[in-house]
Amino acid sequence: MTDTGYTQLLDLACGAFLLSGVLVLARRGLAGVIRVFTAQGVALAALTIVIAVHERSAEWGVAAVGIVALRAVALPMMLRRALADQRDAEARPLVNIPASLLAAAALTLLAYVASQPLVHLAPSTATHAIPIGVAMVLIGLFALTTRRRAVSQVVGFLVVDNGITAVGVLTLASVPLVVELGIALDVLFAVLVLQILATRMREAFGDTDLDELRELRD
């Protein structure tokens, strides 16, 4: 792969990653949100493959396979199952969509400012894209705090997690395989637990609108 080719492919994957994250905020239907989240998993895997090929590293290749399996297949499947009987459910955000998109733009700018020390440590094509991962963490946190549906909160949490993974890939500093597997399992189980809790919440409240969570307060 030529250097320009590498840069262009990396930028393309990062662009797709950022765009899908912003679309999570823009979609109204929950089924659409899950589709966009799946696309983000694919973009993240593509990003990892570009880096694996450029670095000629089998380790990153394995990581890309793991990312596809977890983030583009397993997690979206679990989310779809959690949504099973409310296909046409809407996200009903606390902050309306145009304002959410403005916030996403502001958070992306903030991420670029905040990530300056990270880019300066080892400037390269990959590390210059770290702010995109940080932006995704912030956008995910924003989605998590402004969305009222149980499923959209889980998607927000997973977008944060995608952002962290993207930072991990773009720093080009690998983590031991045992730790990486542990992290993947923890995320998988956390979502499994949340899916079961969402089902129980539907049994107890008849809805998964988190506005119903009003029992506990001071």
């Binding site: 905040a114 300056q116 020390p117 990270l118 300066h120 440590l121 080892a122 963490v137 946190l141 998590l144 149980a150 909160q153 949490f157 944060v160 997690d161 962290i164 930072v167 991990g168 720093t171 080009l172 500093a173 983590v175 031991p176 045992v178 730790v179 542990g182 992290i183 399992l185 923890d186 189980f189 956390a190 637990v193 949340l194 079961i196 809790l197 969402a198 129980r200 919440m201 107890a204 409240f205 988190l210 969570l213 029992e215 506990l216 001071d218």
Partner: protein, 485 residues
């Protein structure tokens, strides 16, 4: 087999037995045996000195050994009170033998996860173990499946997983900084501490802030503490005891490990300033919410936030005296708070309400229970002879000696406010004449399962009078955290 594997494998085996054999006759006391095993391993490792196992993935120095002792001691109290608590729940129709078996299984898995966290030699593995504690305890918090408990479990998993995700970003950034250090290293805690002076300042600053806020979430420190009062008040009593008594301090342990790296890389000021802000914010929050508290389990939960704030204050001061006092505080608070949560669980079983105003004249109707609860609260607010008196005094003295007079005075003042509120609420529950009339439950005068509660309080009192047997371990553990002037 190496002794370091025992604290992880023993509860794992016990969990498997519960999964296979269920909750019946002999298995009931298995949990106690596994807790005693963890405690014994902690003591052996403490006397033997540092060691490694599992190809360097597990490592125990004096601090890990001390944390094993804390986990073992608090788990001993909580699991010993478990059988009688579960028997009462089954008798009241709120649990069955099946839910009791699942409860015991998850409690053992919880212990295994905490033991792996304090033994992990690698920051990444430490993160994985702490996130695993969230996953295994989620269903314990939501065990009763009521609206309130499902809500508490949801908030618990969402807030803790998000907070801990910030810590993961911190781990990844620290890994990035370590890979570009003059001598590149991985995420081993000892290697990171050794290589810390060469880490890039800018990246490490971001990483440390994320790690302290992230692990601080799990430790119940402000600003991401909102899960704690809900989870602690909704979880079954033995689980609240374990969560408040040890889980918080295991996360606090992670903060202490991060601080060693931060101090070596960035100087003392950065982590100290961050921890001081977090500590005072937690204390202020606890003081303001405990004052008008109407629910006694939530009252205990806010008191846990207060005590974690004191632990953070001790860590911020960072002198040997402050660190030994903070570690002694972890053990003393763990014992007392587990006794109190177990006692509160019993009060709930006897009176059927968790409202402070719903409990009157407990001293007359259930003297043993009222006695343990009352002495527990006295211990909690730091009266001698209990060890919390010695440790709070130690933290305060160290604070003034380190020139942190203002924050220390503010913390003491807030602690006094919490103490006053706790005393006022508790005396309303214990004193007065018990409610009369039809429909009021008649409490048994005997307290089944009183031994672990009284034992926990006695242990805390003995620690306060003579912490000498522990002094050597405390000093060694504080020494592993490095001395900051």
């Amino acid at each position: 087999m190496d002794i370091l594997l025992i604290p992880v494998l023993l509860p794992a085996v016990a969990a498997t037995v519960y999964a296979v054999a269920g909750w019946r006759g002999p298995t009931r006391w298995l949990g106690v045996a596994s807790a005693a095993g963890i405690l014994a391993c902690g003591i052996v490792v403490a006397t033997d000195g540092p060691r490694e196992a599992l190809g360097g993935w597990l490592r125990a120095d004096a601090l890990s050994a001390f944390m094993l002792v804390v986990i073992g001691a608090v788990a001993l109290v909580a699991t010993a009170a478990g059988p009688s608590w579960l028997r009462a729940e089954i008798a009241a129709g709120r649990a069955t033998a099946r839910t009791a078996a699942r409860h015991s299984l998850l409690v053992q898995a919880f212990l295994a996860a905490m033991a792996s966290a304090v033994l992990a030699a690698n920051l990444g593995a430490l993160w994985v173990a702490i996130e695993a504690t969230t996953i295994v305890t989620a269903f314990l918090v939501g065990q009763r499946r009521t609206r309130a408990s499902v809500e508490a479990a949801w908030k618990y998993v969402v807030i803790c997983s998000t907070g801990i995700a910030l810590a993961l970003l911190g781990v990844i950034l620290l890994n990035f900084a370590a890979a570009h250090a003059p001598t590149p290293t991985g995420l081993g805690l000892a290697e990171l501490a050794a290589a810390a002076p060469g880490l890039d300042g800018g990246v490490t600053r971001v990483a440390v802030a994320l790690l302290i806020v992230g692990f601080g979430t799990k430790a119940g420190l402000a600003p991401l503490h909102a899960w704690l009062p809900d989870a602690h008040s909704q979880a079954p009593a033995p689980v609240s005891a374990l969560m408040s008594g040890v889980l918080l301090s295991v996360a606090g342990y992670a903060v202490l490990r991060v601080k060693v790296i931060a101090d070596a890389a960035l100087g003392v000021g950065f982590a100290r300033a961050l921890l001081l802000v977090v500590a005072l914010a937690s204390l202020l929050l606890a003081a303001s919410l405990v004052l008008a508290q109407r629910d006694y389990k939530r009252m205990l939960a806010y008191s846990s936030i207060e005590h974690m704030g004191l632990l953070a204050l001790g860590a911020a001061i960072g002198s040997p005296l402050a660190l030994t006092a903070a570690l002694l505080h972890v053990l003393g608070h763990g014992l007392v708070k587990s006794v109190l949560f177990l006692g509160a669980g019993r009060v709930l079983q006897v009176t059927g309400t968790s409202l402070i105003s719903g409990v009157r004249g407990l001293a007359a109707s259930a003297p043993v229970l009222a006695g343990t609860f009352g002495f527990g609260v006295l211990a909690l607010i730091g009266l001698p002879p209990f060890s919390l008196f010695a440790s709070e005094l130690g933290i305060a003295r160290a604070g003034f000696a380190a020139g942190l007079g203002w924050p220390t005075s503010a913390a003491l003042l807030l602690t006094l406010v919490v103490a006053g509120a706790l005393l006022a609420h508790t005396s309303r529950m214990l004193l007065g004449s018990p409610p009369q009339g039809p429909g009021t439950a008649t409490a048994p005068r005997r307290l089944p399962g009183a031994v672990p509660l009284v034992g926990g309080l006695l242990a805390c009192a003995v620690l306060g009078v003579a912490s000498l047997p522990l002094q050597h371990l405390l000093d060694a553990a504080a020494a592993t955290l490095g001395h900051t002037p």
